[in-house]
């Protein structure tokens, strides 16, 4: 049946790992919006939740880097990061290899996606799940766009991947939700960690909420790198979520810079028919 949800959220490891150092007023408002998103998704009773992330060398490396990947396992472990670093305990998450396989086969009609029968969640998935708390009955399907090790697939291919995921989900009988995770502008894990291009972020989210395909795809990677940092490459996941929403307009539930979390912390969704 048609995709039941398409949303986006931040995933920086500082969101949990450095929580105690953030301005509590902004932090709690952000956490509340994040948890509300989880409640919204649970209320839709999805059979599966696709978490489309921009992972950071937990599974994929420059020895064999897929532009696009989808997990195909009955369970996933994570987070890979030390609990002392991320402040999220390690656990096993439920997957559904058979459902993943059907989703992958349909996605492959238009996008050459890699599949992975093992997948360790990193903060890109574990931080969102920490707040979203999907029901234990809901299977997780991790998906990934390479946003870390250039060369990166162009933005219009990220859009095509989002469209392909939507077509695949719509063609299956299960109720499937999608959450894409990433940062907007940021310079993570560098001496400039905490730097945020606020105006750039607002303009990007304006384009995202308008689901303006041409405007979303008009950035070059050189411009993103210059204006939004190497972390800005992660807008690919937000772009795929917009494509998966098939033209629906977005609602930004929360958006505020939190420097110790290294990004404009964002929670937004596109209500689907």
């Amino acid at each position: 049946m048609p995709l039941v949800y398409s949303g986006v959220c931040s995933h920086g490891p500082g969101i949990t790992g450095r929580a105690d150092r953030a301005d509590p007023v902004v932090r709690e408002a952000f956490y509340a919006a994040f948890r509300d998103m989880g409640a919204e998704i649970r209320a839709l009773r999805p059979d599966a939740l696709i978490v489309l992330a921009a992972e950071h060398f937990a599974n994929f490396f420059m020895n064999n880097m897929p532009s696009f990947a989808i997990g195909m396992a009955d369970s996933y472990d994570g987070p890979i990061e030390d609990e002392a670093f991320l402040k999220i305990p390690k656990r096993r998450w439920k997957g559904d290899a058979a459902l993943s396989r059907r989703l992958i086969e349909r996605t492959m009609e238009t996008v050459d996606v890699a599949y992975a029968e093992e997948w360790q969640f990193d903060h890109g998935i574990a931080v969102p799940l920490h707040f979203l708390r999907p029901d234990e009955s809901c299977a997780l399907i991790p998906a990934n766009i390479n946003c870390q090790g250039p060369p990166l697939a162009p933005l219009h291919r990220a859009w095509a991947f989002g469209e392909a995921l939507r077509r695949a989900a719509d063609a299956l009988p299960q109720r499937i939700a999608l959450v894409a995770t990433g940062g907007i502008s940021h310079w993570p894990a560098t001496p400039d960690s905490g730097k945020i291009a606020e105006a750039w972020d607002r303009e990007f989210m304006r384009r995202w909420a308008a689901n303006d395909r041409a405007a979303l795809l008009s950035y070059s990677d050189a411009e993103i790198y210059r204006d939004a940092g190497q972390g800005g490459f992660e807008i690919r996941t937000f772009i795929a979520a917009a494509a998966a929403a098939k033209g629906a307009r977005g609602h930004v539930a929360f958006m505020a810079p939190i420097p110790i979390f290294a990004v404009t912390c964002t929670v937004a969704s596109m209500p689907l028919g």
Partner: protein, 123 residues
Amino acid sequence: MSLYGVQKLIWQLNRDPRQRARFGTERDAVLDEYELSVEERAALSKPDIGLLYVMGVNGQLLMHYAALHNIEWLDYLQRMRDGLTAHGPVRAGVYAATGYEGIAAHDARLAAERQGGGRAAGL
């Protein structure tokens, strides 16, 4: 240039607990398994976080290498700044520094903006 080897070693340490354990007990044997220059090997052994950053190690790998050595977050950021001072700009990769006021000053500016009628959605 063997930046690839440096990054591959860190990647494997990050994701494989057995390799991490070996790195603690037989560090030289682990280092021997990768093609590394003398400078790279020394930077990894020390570890010299600032020099590894300047060499171009991706921050998404390097921050975990720092955490593995119990280097706290703000200390990790400072070591990279010190690396820039000692060794000059980042030589390769996408993780160059571009200049930033710092988290404390940034937080203070945002708090002042909020008091003057902030524009953060959801607040």
